[in-house]
Symmetry: C2
Subunit: 513 residues, 2 copies
């Protein structure tokens, strides 16, 4: 790290990023195709996925232009993973210390919200992209600031420049959509008028609301509910329409997070939906009026009163204004792609979509992965055995970590998803807290570890690890799935004692090895 905390997060990680302050401008107002040669590749959106596809194409020698309407670094760097994990970390590490006799007594305070917000500001570089731009420049990628739209002609993009004017870009090879998503605001009467928080307002908060209602119990809602409870919210109520939190993970994960939330005073209402939201108009300069949320659940209707309401009810692709109609794609929809990240609907394969915008897996790391694959397809790079690049992870080995405490870290298929996919699987589970490695880290170790094994091939197809700080346990499972390492061979991969990774030994014993 070079002292600029957010250098290239989401794409690169700063240690090799220079920050020499040169300007990327000077590409302003040519409104017709450039007189000189155009770029080989145009990338729309400079979030993690866009940056990576641009950087990798440029490093292979292609001329690349990337168009960004907001900040280079995208949602993840400023309004997503980075600030949310930064806000969660103080509560997590203090909870960890309180579980350690010999350390617990040294913790006399609770999370200091002002300091956490200040660190968040540092991590998002004050919501400027000065730290990220050099990464593109160093790779020779041309940054065009503005709003891009496909013209309807192949490989042609018109940019309404941020500084005024327009510019027409024509790519010789490919256009890559990496426009990302934004928070979905569900059509609950009164909700939009109530000026609800979304991931941007929540991760960017400068005050801790005394009472917070969160709509949506997926990863974003669950994480932020706990973050604000630990930052000091007196009441946090999480409203989830499904019967459980984190509905796409194993059921025990949902149960364990819910139990932990209950223990720290977070109210979870499942099978419950908001039906009406009311807030008096917000007046500039005045305190925001309280908000009333009418919910319907198993116990009937009731009203929640809060200071803020956070919407964490899924993501909507930012494709409504990209000029997709001309190519038979639905504005506002996800852009369906093949395993080479090409838009299926578009002939000749010049249009790619990477990251959230293709709807495959709305996760920064998968977006970056798709970006690397797409770049290799565009540049014609082949793998060691001469095969063209293709996406081998999506749908098969997608890791995801929910950074609640306990954490939920998983990869591949849940047991249910595997059965629904027609696989003959056997799942085994052990308590994560049952290994010595968990006990030496503190008292009251919780959690469950599970492997899902395809019995025909005797390879893993899924794994879940819940508990304190399980985030690094999952990569071993990802390697095992992607490497198709048979469980009989995994038996010889010895976990170190006393680490929490010894759950691997217990799991394979439980499996019968």
């Amino acid at each position: 790290m070079d002292g600029t905390p957010n250098d290239g997060y989401g794409t690169n990680d700063g240690y090799d990023a220079s920050d020499d302050g040169a300007s990327e401008d000077g590409v302003r107002d040519d409104s017709a195709p450039a007189g000189g040669p155009g770029p080989d590749v145009i990338v729309i959106g400079a979030g993690p996925a866009g940056e990576n596809v641009a950087g990798r194409c440029a490093q292979a020698g292609l001329a690349v232009a990337i168009v960004e309407r907001e900040l280079v670094g995208g949602e993840c760097s400023y309004w997503g993973c980075i600030p949310s994990k930064t806000l969660l970390r103080p509560g997590e590490v203090l909870a960890a210390a309180r579980r350690v006799p010999g350390a617990a007594a040294a913790v006399t305070g609770s999370v200091e919200a002002a300091a956490a917000f200040a660190r968040r500001d540092e991590m998002v570089a004050g919501y400027t992209d000065d730290g990220q731009v050099p990464w593109l420049r160093d790779r020779g990628v041309e940054l065009v600031r503005g709003v891009a739209r496909l013209t309807g002609r192949p490989r042609e993009v018109r940019v309404t420049l941020t500084g005024g004017g327009q510019r027409l870009l024509v790519a010789s090879r490919a256009v890559v959509l990496a426009a990302g998503t934004r928070a979905t605001v569900p059509p609950v009467p009164g909700l939009a008028d109530a000026e609800p928080w979304d991931n941007r307002s929540a991760t960017g908060a400068r005050q801790v609301p005394r009472r917070l209602v969160v709509l949506g119990g997926g990863a974003v809602g669950s994480e932020l509910a706990q973050a604000f409870r630990r930052l000091g919210s007196e009441t946090v109520t999480l409203v989830e329409g499904a019967p459980r939190l984190l509905a796409r993970e194993e059921e025990f994960a949902s149960d364990e997070v819910r139990t932990a939330f209950a223990a720290e005073g977070i109210t979870v209402l499942v099978d419950t939906r908001a039906v009406a939201v009311r807030r008096e108009p917000v007046q500039p300069g005045q305190p925001r009026p309280e908000v009333t949320v009418r919910v319907v659940g198993p116990a009937g209707e009731s009203e929640l009163v809060a200071d803020e309401i956070l919407v964490a009810a899924g993501r909507t692709p930012a494709t409504d204004d990209l000029g997709l109609t001309a190519f038979g794609l639905r504005p506002g929809g996800f852009v369906e792609v093949d395993d080479q990240l090409r838009a299926r609907a578009v002939p000749e394969g010049w249009l790619y979509a990477v990251g959230d915008v293709n709807g495959r897996a709305l996760l920064t790391h998968l977006g970056k992965y798709q970006a690397r694959i797409a770049a290799d397809v565009i540049t014609g790079r082949r793998d060691i055995v001469g095969q063209p690049a293709r996406d081998l992870a999506d749908g098969r080995a997608v890791p995801r970590v929910t950074f609640t405490d306990p954490q939920v870290s998983a990869v591949g298929l849940t047991e249910r998803a595997a059965r629904e996919a027609g696989l003959a699987v056997r799942a085994v589970r052990v308590p994560t807290g049952g290994v010595a490695g968990a006990s030496v880290r503190g008292t009251d170790a919780v959690g469950t570890s599970m492997l899902v094994v395809d019995e025909n091939r005797r390879v893993l197809v899924g794994a879940t690890f819940t508990g304190a700080d399980t985030q690094e346990l999952v990569h071993a499972a990802t390697v095992a799935i992607v490497g198709e390492v048979p469980v009989d061979r995994l038996w010889h991969a010895v976990p170190a004692f006393p680490t929490v990774s010894e759950v691997w030994l217990r799991l394979l014993e439980e499996y019968g090895l």
Copy 2:
């Protein structure tokens, strides 16, 4: 966990252990071969390795007797990994919290030694094995408390019983040596007379010495030096004869630990050896007199004065009194074994040695692994393709974690060891602290991650991860090595963002993928 923290640590982990208080005695004083059928297997030593070989043989239906002269659970459970990691943890978690803005201000104290010692006492179950014995009993293993010695006839063991008397045991199949090791006291004049601490006295300490000298900068010496510094020792001086700490790990690991030690006031003297030790005789009931250590190093001779001197200068196999001579084995030496854990020198293959006593890898997890393999060899269990069990980990995929802060977590070969083994390797490295996942966990993230790739086979042969809390990063590398997953395939194993496991992505990019 069922509330008995040390249930079966080192072998099992308590969550399935019953603790019903029944006695395992009643096998006392028959001094001739039993009238009834003897055991199939005799195991000498009930540490982690012994327990595991006994338990696994018994679960396969064999009659097993295990002989223990001290406590069931062995060195690791009472005087090794468990107490040392328990004493390190408070300092580690407080250091972690101090690096997190938003949490740091809540940490107003330092490590409370009395509470750490109390937790240690809990983790070692007050130095009783009541929590471990049921694990053996549940598996039908007969526990014989006493000192075992091979008689000189095949498969025959005489036990001098702890309660008095002798008992002769004759195994129908196998005898397994799992006698472990003890601290080596090097022949420094005056050292033995100075009543130095070893791992037992140090991990069992009830007071923090004001001034501590540690002889030996391997994992044990380095860990305990830092543990006591953080528990409150005013001066800690680590004396190491080699040019660096942790001499068998990558050089950067040694450098980083040394830098960290310097920053927290631990003096490290390398290329330095103790040549004389003096202490006035220790009088019972009186304060222990201070100890003077004469050392010779690059700057000549000097004297260190301390309150305790800890010897962490390697391990000596506990084989001096096992009756080895009759079988051509050297008393006091390691028992060399083949890949099925059979003593090479002994015909007919009835004598096995597992764990520290065979000298292959003095690590609890490897001892347990060897135990599982040996049990499968003894019981004739074959793997999925019909092959007899054999040790595939030793010498190839041995993970080890030094629980200092920063941690040093490694598996397989170092770059140097790989070259010395004649492999054409290429090593790549990146800063562990350079990924976003490290920065969201706190400021000042340090460390280095390295992969060593066999260029002919394009598979990993080694990996090292240094930094805060890298202990769970290494298992992914162990899986990759054991699974022989080509780096081109590892490229598709996507680490989750923002976890520290993203060093995998950076490393493979650095490699050229």
